[in-house]
């Protein structure tokens, strides 16, 4: 962490005093993203928790951003990058520095309503980095299930726990054969920064980073435990940190001893109703997932 603090610029592009809930990992995500992509960056945001700090006046973000709608953050990447290309050709661009284009979107907008838009931008390989802030439900509207809500999780629209599995969006993105796909967690900031830098420095093409984002409000855990819960998800093997460069997989963090999923599940109220069988089922899925990825 100290090495990271020394390496990243001191300049802040995300101010304090934003309207995110206490304990939200979104603030850390914005802050690190700002430091990596710098002043010459343009962000498009979809309706999500993270649209609030950037688009409710006064904005916490000090770089330009465009809020379009629930589903169209990837189209923002497309439009901005197309405009940059043509303006560059015509000599109408004021700066010669590269401009980094990125989008920030929740799991609901990325995996549900904006799936077609995301898939379209990825398939066209438009130039930009898409960051999915996955808090595993529609948190901004009050904790309704999304396709990224994990099996068994309580939400206000799955009162007895979700009966379906979590949609594996990173794998869907891998299937687009884009230059870069990665998963990340705010409990591993060095890993996130490295991945974002990779995406930034790869040049052209569509890059996708999926950030697991524990939500104290919706997952029912104390707000001081965000990083602990984030870390447990990785240590229990439920959230695997990996990257895929042009279809080549690489696991970027391997827990020394994989802890039982129960350690993670019992920290959160949303899993309070799970039985021993439920947990065993989830444990089996984790084993299968690791096997598949190894």
């Amino acid at each position: 962490m100290r090495a990271l603090a020394e390496r990243l610029p001191r300049e802040e592009f995300f101010r304090s005093g934003h309207p995110l809930c206490p304990g939200c990992p979104g603030g850390t995500l914005w802050r690190l993203t700002g430091k990596v992509l710098g002043k010459n960056s343009i962000c498009t945001v979809s309706a999500s928790c993270l649209a609030l700090p950037s688009h409710v006046y006064p904005s916490a973000l000090t770089t330009p951003s465009l809020y379009l709608s629930m589903s169209t953050a990837p189209a923002g990447i497309t439009g901005v990058s197309a405009a940059l290309k043509v303006l560059k050709r015509k000599g109408r661009l004021k700066t010669y520095e590269p401009i980094h284009i990125y989008a920030i979107s929740g799991d609901g907008s990325a995996a549900d309503i904006g799936m077609a838009c995301l898939s379209g931008a990825a398939e066209r390989n438009d130039d930009g980095i898409f960051i999915c802030f996955d808090n595993e439900a529609y948190m901004n509207t009050g904790i309704q299930r999304s396709s990224c809500t994990p099996l068994g999780s309580w939400t206000t629209s799955t009162l007895k726990g979700k009966t379906e599995k979590k949609k594996d969006l990173p794998e869907i993105m891998v299937a687009h054969h884009i230059p870069y796909v990665a998963t990340a967690s705010m409990a591993f900031p060095e890993d996130y920064v490295k991945k974002l830098e990779k995406g930034r420095d790869m040049g052209c093409g569509f890059k996708y980073i999926h950030v697991h984002s524990p939500c104290p409000t919706g997952w029912r855990f104390p707000e001081r435990k965000t990083i602990e819960v984030s870390r447990l998800a990785v240590e229990c093997g439920l959230w695997i940190l990996y990257e895929v460069i042009y279809d080549q997989y690489q696991i970027t963090y391997r827990p020394k001893v994989r802890r039982p999923v129960e350690d993670y599940l019992k920290t959160q109220g949303r899993f309070a109703h799970l039985t021993r069988e439920d947990m065993e089922k989830i444990q089996r899925q984790v084993e299968e997932r690791w096997q598949a990825l190894e």
Binding site: L66, G79, V86, R92
Partner: protein, 395 residues
């Protein structure tokens, strides 16, 4: 200037080329598709320096146009019917952000049942999206209006998106003679798009499209759009005049009218029906019948004042339109009735709903409607104000 035969869609593509649009996201849909294909051809052979984006939906098409326009690039898109309806959400974003995007709406009926042919249901459905809507009746007018549209949209008094609407198949796919434009003259008429401030500029960071969580300034934003729409009434006429000064032809701005000074009855219509209705009125006038003609060109802004001054004195107005707001009447009829309501005296307004799903509206049919209206006025007969014409099984 060189003349040639082109379809309505190709005419629109030429307009886009002349206007030097820069980012063009379009999703294919009948009957719009040949417009998109022609643009791709222009880009491929180097006649147009633009980025074509093969988007995966119309919703994304408008989102891409918005993002590109916010970067300071001149954007264009086009759609029809279901595609336009699919795009609906983003239309409000474009106008609310005050982005001068131009779109061609190649009018087509909305399903169900599905029809590939044209009526005005699709563009009139987006009535409240704060887009300027101008209707064209032939290839030449489409070509000229795409260029005029950018000039109107980018005017600082306006800064609203503009839709150029024309009926699918009837206009989009019919070959008509046009006079091509001289690019030098177009450049003189419409300069490059260099907005005073680009919305997405790292040197001047702003957060575009604020989320207002309280009462904030939403109402003020909307009032400014209303003012811009009012300003557009003047700007549309100015631009038309300006166009005539350079190219030697004009279209009348908000509307085209003749014979209204001595007429008792006027046929008011828009789009492709105008050409036929104009002929009917001319022929009747030659026989000494006191009838006039109005072609509505601008639906948004709706030219209330001009219509009031032209029509208040008349005895009857026949509004002939290819659309219906089911449960009420024709959309133009409803708007016109509201515009003339406060006038005293005012004409009787009869609404003829015709040609839905692209059903043909012939010279003879329009002539019958004209004569019917004249007879009604002459005999002071009260008739049903809203009439569906040519429905099978109805007498």
């Amino acid at each position: 200037m060189e003349r040639g035969m082109v379809t309505g869609n190709y005419a629109a593509a030429y307009g886009v080329k002349y206007a030097r649009a820069e980012v063009i996201p379009v999703y294919p849909i009948t009957p719009q598709t040949s417009l998109m294909e022609k643009i791709i051809e222009f880009i491929n052979n180097g006649e147009l320096n633009a980025e074509f984006v093969p988007v995966e939906s119309e919703h994304t098409a408008m989102a891409v146009a918005i993002a590109a326009e916010a970067m300071g690039a001149r954007s264009f898109t086009a759609s029809s019917a279901q595609g336009l309806v699919y795009m609906h959400e983003m239309l409000f974003v474009a106008s609310g952000m005050r982005l001068p995007i131009v779109m061609c709406i190649v009018n087509r009926s909305i399903g169900a049942p599905n029809s590939l042919l044209g009526d005005l249901q699709d563009s009139l459905d987006i009535r409240d999206a704060s887009w300027i809507q101008l209707y064209a009746e032939n290839a030449q007018e489409i070509m000229d209006m795409v260029i005029q549209a950018y000039k109107i949209a980018e005017d600082k008094r306006v800064l609203l998106p503009v839709a150029i609407c024309y009926e699918g198949i009837i206009i989009s796919h019919c070959m008509e003679p046009v006079t091509f434009l001289d690019q030098q003259k177009v450049n003189q008429f419409l300069s490059d798009y260099c907005p005073d401030h680009v919305l997405l500029d790292p040197e001047r960071p702003t957060h575009v499209q604020a989320i207002l969580t309280d009462d904030a300034y939403y109402m003020e934003y909307k009032y400014q759009q209303q003012v811009a729409m009012e300003n557009a009434k003047l700007v549309i006429q100015e631009v038309d005049q300006n166009f005539e000064n350079i190219f030697g032809r004009r279209y009348g701005g908000l509307l085209e009218a003749f014979g209204t000074e001595d007429a008792e009855v006027v046929l008011l219509t828009l789009g492709s029906i105008s050409s036929t209705a104009r002929r009917v009125v001319r022929d009747l006038r030659e026989k000494g019948i006191l009838i006039g003609f109005v072609k509505l060109r601008s639906f948004r802004p709706f030219p209330r004042e001009v219509l009031q001054s032209l029509l208040a004195r008349l005895k009857g107005v026949a509004v002939i339109e290819r659309d219906a707001s089911i449960g009420s009447g024709g959309v133009i009829y409803t708007e016109l009735s509201s515009a003339l309501y406060m006038n005293e005296p005012k004409p009787k307004i009869i609404n003829y709903i015709v040609g839905l799903g692209g059903r043909e509206v012939t010279y003879e049919a329009l002539k019958v409607l004209a004569e019917k209206t004249l007879w009604m006025v002459k005999t002071e007969t009260t008739v049903r104000p809203i009439q569906w014409i040519g429905v099978r099984g109805l007498s």
